[in-house]
Symmetry: C2
Subunit: 116 residues, 2 copies
DNA sequence: TGGCTAATTGGCATTATAGCCAACAAGTTA
DNA sequence: TAACTTGTTGGCTATAATGCCAATTAGCCA
């Protein structure tokens, strides 16, 4: 995409395509509701109705969030009766969340010191 | 935790605020250029001009990408002469990228089988 | 069958993001 | 000093994401 008139991009096309796919995974997780869903599914599979009640948004909204996560390959779904259950597929998301949570915690402490 | 009449969220305010901060970190990484930058900074600190040449976008664009990463706490910057050097602060990003890259690889292989 | 629950999809308005250029600030060099 | 390099910020347009409602599909049960 970023090919300017002056200087053409030095990044290989293959590299860019792969990083675009990686960016899509980050994008899929870049929302409160979807991080919440990942945390809930880490405890076990849940249907859309359960997640909808917890999040408190319209069920169409939650369904779309789940669709984003599924598209990215982070969750999978199975039908059971008239319910659809979602499961967490990529567990390493949890490791990363706990890592950045540690960073956030450290930054908050740093802020507190700065205020004092 | 009970649900209120107009479908108010059942998630604790504290939980939501923390997950919003986590989402901001994901959002900061949800772009090709910023993932590229993280990969480059993993090799060592680089100035804006170097990254700009590699990416091939306007320097203002790259500067803004770096600003997003800095705001999220993923990189830091130091001035040296009239150059500004950026460094990677949160190394666990690299672990997560390699994890999702494995997932992408697996999905590509799955696709190939599906086509056959 | 009809009525109910569960979930998805389309449409639409609102908001956020991306990237360019222009302007500016700060450091360097002649 | 002026000219140049480096980087940031503001303004602008184009594109993407969000979340609601409405309509639809699918399964369940009386």
């Amino acid at each position: 995409m970023p090919i300017s008139q002056q200087g053409e991009m030095v990044v290989k096309k293959q590299t860019k395509e792969r990083m675009d796919l990686q960016a899509n995974v980050f994008k899929a997780l870049a929302h409160f509701s979807r991080i919440f869903i990942v945390n809930e599914l880490a405890k076990g599979k849940k249907c859309v109705c359960e997640l909808t009640e917890m999040i408190g948004a319209d069920k169409s909204t939650v369904s779309k969030h789940l669709s984003v996560l599924k598209q990215a390959g982070i969750v999978s779904d199975t039908k059971d009766g008239n319910k659809v259950f979602y499961s967490l597929e990529v567990k390493c998301v949890l490791n990363f969340i706990s890592c950045i949570d540690g960073m956030i915690e450290a930054n908050i402490k740093k802020m507190e010191i700065y205020i004092k």
